[in-house]
């Protein structure tokens, strides 16, 4: 509030005390009032008073006056004080911090202080008689109005809160207190509570926010007042403690839930602890609630002072820790138990540690713990330090580099890294370096350990130096023995107790055909021949019992099933006392056994054979007779001779029964065989006793003495007649089949029962793309396409297992070029007596067929697509005309459904002219093709013109495509019409029209007019070309014209000579245009016979020339006549004595000459109407000079003239004018015969005016001489000629001579001309 000083009261006026009239205004006013009053009272006084009375009265009056004065002084002082106070209070009022108003009952403002005016935002002076409500916001105005009513009804103070609306500003909230002053007005205090409102709103927001937090918080929350009554609790409190809001709020805490909250601990907290502290956390309270059981709660308490209420609030956050407590108890139990266990365990560990420490320290191997991160040694055992030559204490101060050779360090670090990562690393043959620098080899065993949570790398290593040495020597020894064993020709094996092979030598592997890998999986009894199992088992057991078996014969089975006979011994292999393996040494006696068997078999066979063989076994001498020493019994059956008949050639020598053809050959062959000590084999014919021929096969060999001499021949001869016959038949058959097979394009494959290929025909490479040798003797390799393998396997199974035949089974193979080939495979089993001998396969390469089929399919698909999508209607009908296929376009064209069309016949759609349609159909059948236009009947019965393109397909079907030609027909009609129109024009044109091929220049078309022009018929013209219709001498230019026209450089060739058939020539203007007919370009020439025209032109030209000549002649004659007149005048003049007459005649002559000169010039002019004015004036001047010799002797004439062509009508008067001018000059300009100059200037202005100036530098005109008035006839005439005839102007200027300027318009007489 603004402080203002209150002025001191004024002092009382002293002059008023002495009874003098007051000097002040108010004093004087009072006096007057008093006197006035006095005068009124004076009339009431009746009797006069004594002096004493008077004195007394005066005294009384004076005292009274003084009293009054004193009172007045007091009053004035009081007034001053009051004024001061008023001022003060007015100041207080005005500058009060709150708005003070005095309002009328109706709300009008009677008075307001400055603060109030400021609150309302209006000047105080303008507030009076304004309604307060105007300043209240519309929203709160009803509140204000109601408040105002209450103020006047109530005797006390009323308050309300409203919002005041300042101009455009945010509303401000005010608190209005009002008290009734009287019935007419009230006093109003208005305080700005905007800040408070905002704070309240913020507080509300905060409260709402806090309430939301409280409501959201899961822990139960309580708000208590200072008296421990519940102000509010959150939802969680109600849920956890199962109480209701209405039973809680406002209640004393201890009374909640039927005094369940009367908990001593809680009381302690709230009554003792919290009052001394504003907050307490984690206060534990345990209580057994009736409805929720035993609960342990952790309470956080806060004492909060509320400034607004000046009171404390207590906030309790309660956490139910009952479960946690229980868990803690259990954990505690477990912990105790664990502690117990740990103690026990620790004791064990300690014991164990002691044990392991003992083991660690006393281990025979070096043990070392390394920190893998720092690579520092953590701990080492005694042996480790000892092995490296250090003490343990020394060792722990070393690092990796100290215990390995320097060159191995990077390798060592690498391995340590690997071990640290748990990788395998290299552990063997690691070099260590002793303290003394010596190196020893070691094998490591690394392990990762975790000790007290930290990883360590445990390295256990041992000095393997001795072992290495031992190993080396053992290796050497082993190698030696291995070499011995491996190179042995015996089978050496070592079999473990379980029968598995511990070792076999190379010869063993080679003999039995197993690889080392296979042997690893073999057992002894896997290789024992089944027949020898029991014997072998017995021997094996014997050996395993520690006994040696010095001799065994056993049969093994090789990998390929072949029996291998072995003979050898077996001994136990001992490790100490214990047998660990059975070692055997065998010798392969297979060959011997086989030989023995063979021998036995041979013997047996031989004896059987001998007895039963159908041939002859013999022994004979090596002589020409083949003298038999022994012949077996089969001799009779073979030869018809008994054996004894042949022995010693008793009846007949064997040679004699040999067919003569073979005797020599056989003998020679035998000798050859004997020389080689080979075996004789041959076939030949013999003649039996009964004269039959038989084929025999002989095999024999020589029997030699010790000195290699042939003692005898032994062998046997057998009848092979049947075989030979069979062979022949077979050969023939084979030849036949071979021929069939080889010539067949199919590949024939024969396989045996095991699937091995026994035969491949020659087509192998063609069919499969591989040479035959790839397959022969082998099981067919897998050349099947991976995608077809499954189906092929299924097919084979059907053949091989189910015995089905495979018929044209198609699948793909990969050929030798990695290409894919399709093959068709037929196969069946070949059985004889139910036994499968093999499989017969016929394979065709169908790749091309497949490709073709695919192509065909593709093509078919393509064509089907084309056909289906074709805009043309496509019909396919059989030979009877029934439709077997129609496309959509056909259906759309004829407005039948495709199904309907498929039930129809060609005839159903035929036009009314059946005969024609039948003929067409027949034509198609006979010729195979048809192209025609037909009418097809639509569904609505109308006929549609179509063009039909039909083809007879190879399969006998008729294919036709139709296109609606309605539009085309219409167009054709229009074209015909148009063609007719143009034909009329063409035919009847009065202009000759020829159409010539641009390239060949041959004529294609001609109209009657040109035919008439040239005298050829149309047919003749189309055999001619351009050169034929023009004279030869003009041909070059004509062709040039033609070609220029063809190039489009010009259209019109004028005045070309044309040669008629009869040889006459006419001239024509030929106008051409380039046209296209059927895509070819032609020149279309329009011939206009200009002969008449030309003749007319020539005639005109001739006439023109004639007229020109006549005109020239006329001019000439005129000129001549004028010259004659000039001559006469000259002659006459020459005869005259009178000078005047002479001059006159001369003058006339000159004038006539000037006119004659015009005609002269016209004769030589181009157009016979215009002459060159410059040339004319030049000639004129020459003549003047010639005629006015004397005067012009000293006169020089200068001309400056432009070439201007004028008509005769202009030149003639100009000539006369010039003549006049010059004669004047000659006469008057230079009278003293002085030297003079004449200038003649002729030019034409841009306005087409001719200006002719003639000037001289002579005497000029006499003073005052008026040319028009004073001039002589000549001048007068000249002026008239200029002004009237030439319609020009003539100006004379006499200044340093005479200057005459003539101006006239050019072309004045042009229209006349």
């Amino acid at each position: 509030m603004k402080k203002t000083s209150i002025p001191p009261p004024k002092a009382a006026d002293p002059s008023t005390r002495s009874g003098q009239a007051p000097s002040t205004g108010s004093g004087r006013s009072l006096r007057r009032k008093a006197e006035a009053k006095m005068s009124k009272r004076k009339k009431a006084v009746a009797s006069p008073m004594t002096e004493a009375d008077t004195l007394r009265l005066v005294h009384e009056l004076e005292v009274h006056q003084i009293e009054l004065e004193l009172q007045n002084e007091e009053l004035v002082g009081a007034q001053a004080e009051l004024e001061a106070l008023l001022h003060q209070y007015t100041g207080l009022y005005d500058f009060a911090p709150a708005g003070y108003f005095t309002l009328a009952r109706d709300g009008m403002i009677n008075r307001a202080n400055l603060a109030g005016a400021n609150l309302l935002g209006v000047e105080r002076s303008r507030l009076v008689k304004k309604h307060f409500g105007v300043f209240v916001s519309a929203k709160t105005r009803p509140v204000f109005n109601a408040f105002l009513g209450e103020v006047f009804e109530s005797e006390g103070k009323e308050t309300c809160e409203v919002a005041l609306q300042k101009n455009g500003a945010d509303p401000i909230w005010v608190n209005i207190e009002a008290i009734k002053e009287d019935e007419r007005g009230c006093r109003v205090l208005v305080e700005d509570i905007t800040g408070r409102k905002q704070a309240e709103e913020k507080a509300d927001e905060a409260r709402v926010f806090a309430e939301s937090i409280i409501a959201t918080v899961r822990q139960p929350l309580l708000v208590l007042d200072a008296d421990l009554h519940v102000i509010t609790a959150n939802r969680s409190f109600y849920e956890v403690f199962k109480v209701k809001q209405e039973e809680t709020e406002g209640k004393l805490l201890y009374e909640l839930g039927n005094h369940q909250w009367n908990i001593s601990k809680l009381r302690e907290l709230l009554e003792n602890i919290l009052p001394r502290n504003t907050k307490l956390n984690n206060f534990e309270v345990e209580h057994n609630f009736e409805n929720i059981g035993q609960k342990t709660m952790l309470v956080n308490a806060r004492r909060v002072y509320q400034e607004t209420n000046r009171t404390h609030l207590i906030l309790l956050a309660i956490e139910d820790i009952t479960e946690r407590k229980q868990t803690e108890k259990e954990l505690e139990k477990h912990r105790e138990h664990l502690e117990k266990l740990v103690e026990e365990r620790t004791a064990e560990l300690q014991k164990s540690e002691a044990k392991f420490k003992a083991i660690f320290d006393n281990a025979s191997d070096g043990m070392l713990l390394i920190d893998p991160k720092t690579l520092k040694f953590f701990i080492c055992n005694t042996m480790c330090a000892k092995m490296l030559g250090h003490t343990q204490e020394e060792f722990l101060n070393l690092d990796i580099a100290d215990i390995h050779p320097g060159e191995d360090l990077s390798f060592i670090y690498k391995q340590i890294g690997k071990f640290s990562r748990g990788e395998k690393g290299i552990r063997n043959d690691i070099r260590f370096k002793r303290k003394d620098g010596s190196i020893f080899m070691s094998d490591l065993s690394p392990a990762l350990l975790s000790i007290a949570g930290k990883k360590y790398l445990l390295i256990i290593f041992k000095d393997i130096t001795e072992r290495k040495l031992l190993e080396d020597s053992l290796r050497e020894s082993e190698t030696r023995y291995r070499l011995l064993i491996d190179n042995s020709n015996d089978l050496i094996q070592s079999v473990g107790l379980d029968g598995r092979f511990l070792f076999v030598n190379q010869f063993w592997r080679h003999t039995l055909g197993y690889s080392e890998e296979e042997i690893a999986g073999l057992n002894l009894f896997d290789v024992i021949h089944p027949d020898h199992y029991s014997h072998c088992r017995e021997m094996f057991d014997k050996v395993l019992n520690g006994n040696s078996v010095p001799y065994i014969e056993v049969t093994f089975a090789a990998k390929d099933g072949r029996p291998v006979y072995l003979m050898g011994s077996a001994v136990p292999r001992l490790l100490g006392e214990k047998v660990i393996a059975a070692q055997s040494f065998f010798h392969d006696i297979t060959e011997r056994k086989q030989a023995e068997e063979r021998l036995h078999e041979n013997e047996r066979r031989l004896s059987t054979l001998m007895g039963n063989m159908p041939g002859i076994a013999y022994r004979c001498a090596n002589d020409k007779n083949w003298t038999m020493e022994y012949v077996s019994e089969g001799c009779f059956e073979l030869t018809g001779y008994m054996s004894d008949e042949l022995v010693n050639n008793s009846v007949i020598a064997f040679n004699d029964i040999i067919h003569e053809e073979y005797r020599e050959h056989l003998y020679n062959k035998w000798q050859d065989v004997l020389n080689r000590k080979g075996t004789f084999k041959d076939e030949y014919r013999i003649i039996t006793k009964d004269g039959k021929e038989k084929w025999v096969w002989e095999q024999g060999c020589g029997i030699y003495s010790d000195d290699d001499k042939v003692i005898a021949l032994e062998g046997f001869i057998t009848d092979i007649t049947e075989r030979k016959q069979t062979e022949e038949a077979l050969r023939e058959s084979e030849e036949l089949f071979k021929s069939v097979v080889h010539n067949s394009d199919a590949l024939m494959i024969l396989t045996d029962a095991k699937g091995v290929v026994t035969y491949l025909s020659a087509q192998c490479e063609n069919v499969l793309g591989y040479p035959a040798d790839k397959f022969i003797g082998k099981i067919m390799p897998d050349i099947i396409h991976p995608d077809d393998i499954a189906k092929c396997q299924h097919a084979w199974e059907q053949v091989t297992k189910q015995g089905q035949e495979l018929h044209e089974f198609e699948y793909r193979i990969i050929d030798s070029q990695q290409g894919v080939q399709w093959i068709s495979h037929s196969a069946k089993l070949v059985k004889v007596d139910g036994r499968i001998l093999g499989m017969q396969n016929t394979i065709h390469n169908i790749t091309k067929r497949k490709e073709m089929a695919e192509a065909l399919q593709e093509s078919e698909k393509k064509f089907r697509t084309i056909t289906e999508n074709s805009a043309d209607a496509i019909f396919i009908a059989d030979q009877q005309g029934n439709y077997v296929y129609v496309n959509q376009a056909a259906s759309d064209l004829l407005e039948y459904t495709p199904d309907k069309l498929m039930t129809m016949n060609i005839a159903d759609l035929a036009s009314q002219d059946e005969t024609k349609d039948i003929e067409e159909f027949q034509k198609l059948q006979s010729e195979g093709r048809l192209y025609t236009e037909i009418l097809l009947k639509k569904a609505d019965g109308t006929f549609l013109p179509v063009d039909l393109n039909a083809v007879l397909l190879p399969n006998g079907l008729n294919y036709g495509s139709c296109r609606d030609i309605t539009d085309r027909k219409r167009a054709e009609e229009e074209l015909k019409e148009s063609e007719a129109k143009f034909r009329i024009f063409f035919e009847s044109s009065p202009v000759g029209i020829l159409i010539a091929d641009l390239e060949t220049k041959m004529f294609k078309y001609s109209n009657p007019c040109i035919c008439q022009m040239l005298g050829y018929t149309e047919n003749e013209l189309i055999t001619l070309n351009v050169a034929d219709i023009h004279p030869k001498d003009a041909l070059q230019s004509v062709i040039a014209e033609f070609e220029a026209q063809a190039r489009g450089e010009k259209n019109l060739a004028e005045n070309l000579p044309c040669l008629r058939k009869d040889g006459t020539i006419f001239y024509a203007d030929i106008n051409t245009i380039k046209i296209f007919i059927d895509g070819k370009s032609y020149n279309m020439g329009f011939f206009q016979d200009i002969t008449e025209h030309k003749q007319a032109e020539e005639q005109i030209q001739k006439n023109l020339e004639e007229k020109e000549i006549l005109l020239r002649e006329l001019y000439h004659r005129t000129k001549n006549n004028m010259q004659v007149i000039c001559a006469i005048l000259r002659l006459q003049s020459s005869r005259q004595k009178d000078q005047g007459m002479k001059e006159l005649l001369k003058k006339i002559e000159i004038k006539i000459y000037s006119m004659a000169l015009v005609h002269q010039k016209l004769i030589s002019s181009k157009d016979l109407s215009h002459l060159n004015l410059k040339e004319y004036i030049d000639s004129l001047l020459i003549h003047f000079k010639q005629n006015y010799v004397e005067p012009f002797k000293n006169i020089s004439i200068h001309t400056d003239m432009t070439d201007i062509n004028v008509l005769l009508d202009t030149a003639t008067p100009l000539g006369l004018i010039l003549d006049e001018l010059f004669s004047n000059v000659a006469k008057h300009a230079f009278p003293e015969k002085t030297r003079g100059k004449i200038k003649v200037n002729l030019h034409i202005t841009p306005q087409n005016k001719i200006v002719l100036e003639v000037s001289d530098n002579g005497t000029g005109l006499p003073k005052g001489f008026n040319v028009r008035k004073d001039g002589h006839l000549g001048l007068e005439t000249a002026i008239d000629l200029v002004e009237q005839q030439l319609n020009g102007r003539i100006i004379f200027k006499s200044e340093k001579g005479l200057h005459c300027k003539i101006t006239f318009k050019k072309g004045l007489y042009s229209k006349r001309v």
Binding site: Q1123, A1127, R1130, L1157, Q1186
Partner: protein, 122 residues
């Protein structure tokens, strides 16, 4: 000019011929009698042997001036000056073939003839 210069004027227009003769005589030139016909011109020319022949092209008679000049020049080399009122190109070509001294349009410039004579005289 000496009086030995003789000029033959061949002109069918008598008055023109007379005027020409007069003009030439005024210049001091000896002019033979004027001839109007071509044949006579040939005869007189061959006979009189003038120094210069002034030959009009269009003449009376069977010969025109060019033909007369040709005949004269076949026999004698006499300078010829053709005079013509007007002539076609064809006539001009014919005339020039005769190789005249000059070819003048009528009315002839007498001073030009004078110059020619002076040249001849020199």
């Amino acid at each position: 000019m000496t009086e030995k210069l003789k000029v033959l004027v061949v002109e069918d227009e008598v008055l023109t011929a007379k005027m020409l003769k007069m003009d030439l005589e005024e210049l001091g030139v000896n002019v033979l009698e004027t001839i109007a016909k071509g044949e006579e011109a040939v005869k007189v020319a061959l006979q009189e042997n003038p120094s210069l022949i002034l030959m009009d092209i269009r003449l009376a008679g069977g010969l025109d001036g060019i033909e007369a000049a040709e005949r004269i020049l076949q026999k004698k080399k006499i300078p010829i000056v053709f005079m013509t009122g007007y002539a076609t190109e064809e006539i001009k070509k014919r005339a020039l073939k005769v190789n005249p001294v000059d070819y003048l349009d009528k009315p002839v410039d007498i001073y030009r003839i004078k110059n020619i004579l002076e040249q001849l005289d020199n």
